[in-house]
């Protein structure tokens, strides 16, 4: 995985530079998200990995699928990936692209898991507190997981803030061993 991220980085950097020049980061973000969604499809990955499918066929197929969603530059990018046999990197490219975008625009993508659903007010309150502690704007993505028992679990990239009852019980288990 780490090696794939290394391979994907130059592509992502190039795409981001181009997107910035064209002031189309949002559009590229959509493009990449769609492409990676396509790549995650099992039937597609079978085709991509199949050595019998030659690159021109694959290009035609990809363009056919993405036709509506992807603009001209996106289509060119797909052609390049097929030519370089790096189509499977698309999800990583998308991920790194998002990271570049977030850094550039000064926000962090945060995944928040709670035991019980937030009310709107709570959500706003929590977001402002997180912004203070992380020192950046946050884009929150909230989900509910009953197995936390109580509290919240925050993930911002590698960083994890575990304020859940489950996490505390695990800590306690370790302390009592």
């Amino acid at each position: 995985m780490s090696e794939l991220a290394t391979l994907a980085r130059p592509y992502a950097a190039a795409v981001f530079k181009r997107a910035k020049e064209a002031k189309a980061t949002a559009k590229w973000s959509q493009n990449l998200a769609f492409m990676s969604a396509v790549m995650k499809d099992e039937e597609i990955s079978v085709v991509v990995d199949n050595p019998k499918v030659n690159s021109s066929k694959l290009t035609a197929l990809m363009l056919d699928i993405c036709q509506e969603q992807v603009d001209e530059e996106g289509a060119n990018f797909l052609k390049l990936l097929v030519q370089n046999k790096r189509l499977s990197l698309v999800p990583y490219i998308a991920k790194i692209f998002e990271a570049y975008k977030a850094e550039d625009e000064g926000y962090v993508e945060v995944e928040v898991t709670t035991a019980y659903a937030f009310s709107k007010e709570e959500k706003q309150n929590f977001a402002s507190k997180l912004e203070k502690s992380l020192g950046k704007k946050v884009h929150m993505n909230v989900s509910v997981d009953k197995s936390l028992i109580g509290g919240v679990l925050v993930r911002a990239g590698d960083k994890v803030i575990d304020g859940s009852i489950r996490g505390q019980l695990q800590q306690m288990q370790k302390a009592l061993q």
């Binding site: 991220a5 960083k159 994890v160 803030i161 996490g167 306690m172 302390a175 009592l176």
Partner: protein, 513 residues
């Protein structure tokens, strides 16, 4: 001990009460691959070099390679239960081990866990395994001796407190025997000993422990064992663990002696870890930083001045210097001291005790090669009387070595040459000493005095040791006052000289051997 259930539940209750329930913030990553104890972790962007990483199942690892997208880490201990996709947490701490007085008399593994079945070790303090050695300002020169208890070493290759003296030789030349004798001889001197066994058979380690127990030397000794069956990572960190335990005593104004048995195996373990981490191999396939591996370890053996001790203890200990003396051991292959690791360690240490299998096989034990062995700083620390008397020994042996080749033409040689050869033979014989029988300063002084003053010249070569034994017995029973005074001060005066002379002359007249 009777277990009282209410006590236990009280204890648990108290611990739960004291348990700090704060939301913990940490950095997480996922395991990408596990190969031979080396784990690649994706994420962990904030990991530090040497940081302790937490794996599932109460297992810890150490971050060694920090790369752009991944971290290479070694697992400390078994790694079979770790699988791809597991979460790894940063702990924000460099690997730490317990230190303190409570460890004395115990056998611990490379992480400081007891493995002698004597229960938990009650220590309150921990110390990181990697520390920067004391700087120049904090140091003091070496001027007190560590008595090894072996005539050949204390007389010719003296070791001072805070010195690093390498013991080097082929397998089966008595390297460990010297180390064990040194530990036994520290009984009652206040010097705490740490014996670090790296990559040895468990049976050998058990043997050392048993011998130390038999001679009552375990009470002042800590054994750190990373046996051959343990992972390479543990063998690689064991010396640092032992060093931290020794530094605890040094930093409190006490004296400690640490033995690394042996650093060749540690270098092998480190080579294994490095190659698995895909670091580029260099000479003999060792990575580029094997020199640093040993230099940073041995640099921590030092003598620190009273001001530094006062600073480190927060003013609790005043006017005392602290020292950590290191006796690293290196095993050579076929006497080749110019291999990579031996040359490195020779250049790092303050001298070496060179053991030879030829000498060992011809019955000279300890098999010290007096010509190749040196102590670069020990002379300043040597006890006065031994320094005075031992100087002659070194000279006698050096002259003997030059002339030894002619020994077979004894009849054709002139008087003075013949005398030198005869003296040399007797001194060589006198330097033999049994294992587990270290000698006090006074005992050594008597033997060396007898050789220096020529009292041995009329003793047959094969009777020298018998003569010595009888003389020691006689001195112990008849002149214990003189012996005690030598042991107490270590000075050499005309009074002592004439006392010894009179005693030996009476012994020769009245005793047989």
């Amino acid at each position: 001990m009777q277990l009282n259930p209410s006590e236990i539940s009280d204890l648990i209750k108290k611990r739960i009460e004291n348990f700090d329930l704060s939301a913990e913030a940490h950095t997480e990553g996922t395991v990408v691959s596990v190969t031979d104890g080396i784990v690649r972790v994706h994420g962990l962007s904030e990991a530090m070099q040497g940081e302790m990483l937490e794996f599932p199942g109460n297992t810890y690892g150490m971050a060694l390679n920090l790369e752009r997208d991944s971290v290479g880490a070694v697992v400390l201990g078994p790694y079979q239960h770790i699988s791809e996709g597991d979460t790894v947490k940063c702990t924000g701490k460099i690997l730490e081990v317990p230190v303190g007085e409570a460890l004395l008399g115990r056998v611990v593994d490379a992480l400081g866990n007891p493995i002698d079945g004597k229960g938990a070790i009650e220590t309150t303090e921990t110390s990181p395994i990697e520390k920067i050695a004391p700087g120049v300002i904090a140091r003091q020169s070496v001027d007190e001796p560590v008595q090894i208890g072996l005539k050949s070493i204390d007389a010719m290759i003296p070791v001072g407190r805070g010195q690093r003296e390498l013991i080097i030789g082929d397998r089966q030349t008595g390297k460990t025997a010297i180390a064990v004798d040194a530990i036994i001889n520290q009984k009652g001197t206040g010097i705490k000993c740490i014996y670090v066994a790296i990559g040895q058979k468990r049976s050998s380690i058990a043997n050392v422990v048993r011998k130390l127990e038999e001679h009552g030397a375990m009470a002042h000794t800590i054994i750190v064992a990373a046996s051959a069956s343990e992972s390479a990572a543990l063998q690689f960190i064991a010396p640092y663990t032992g060093c931290s335990m020794g530094e605890f005593f040094r930093d409190r104004g006490e004296d400690a002696l640490i033995i690394y048995d042996d650093l060749t195996k540690q270098a092998w373990a480190y080579r294994q870890v490095s190659l698995l981490l895909r670091r580029p191999p260099g000479r003999e396939a060792y990575p580029g930083d094997v020199f640093y591996l040993h230099s940073r370890l041995l640099e921590r053996a030092s003598r620190i001045n009273a001001a530094e001790v006062e600073k480190l203890t927060g003013g609790k200990v005043k006017g005392k210097t602290g020292s950590l003396t290191a006796l690293p051991i290196i095993e050579t292959q076929g006497g080749d001291v110019s291999a990579f690791v031996p040359t490195n360690v020779i250049s790092i240490t303050d001298g070496q005790i060179f053991l030879e299998s030829d000498l060992f096989n011809s019955g000279i034990r300890p098999a010290v090669n007096a010509g190749l062995s040196v102590s670069r700083v020990g002379g300043a620390a040597q006890t006065k009387i031994i320094k005075k008397l031992g100087g002659g020994t070194r000279l006698d042996l050096a002259q003997y070595r030059e002339l030894a080749a002619f020994a077979q033409f004894a009849s054709d040689l002139d008087e003075s040459t013949r005398k030198q050869i005869e003296r040399g033979q007797r001194v060589t014989e006198l330097m033999k000493q049994n294992q587990y029988s270290p000698m006090s300063v006074a005992q050594m002084a008597v033997s060396l005095f007898a050789a220096n003053e020529g009292y041995l010249d009329n003793v047959e070569v094969n009777k020298v040791l018998a003569f010595e034994a009888a003389l020691q017995l006689y001195m112990k029973s008849e002149h214990s006052g003189l012996m005690d005074s030598i042991n107490a001060t270590g000075d050499f005066s005309n009074e002592i000289s004439s006392g010894l002379r009179a005693a030996i002359e009476t012994f020769i007249k009245t005793h047989s051997w």
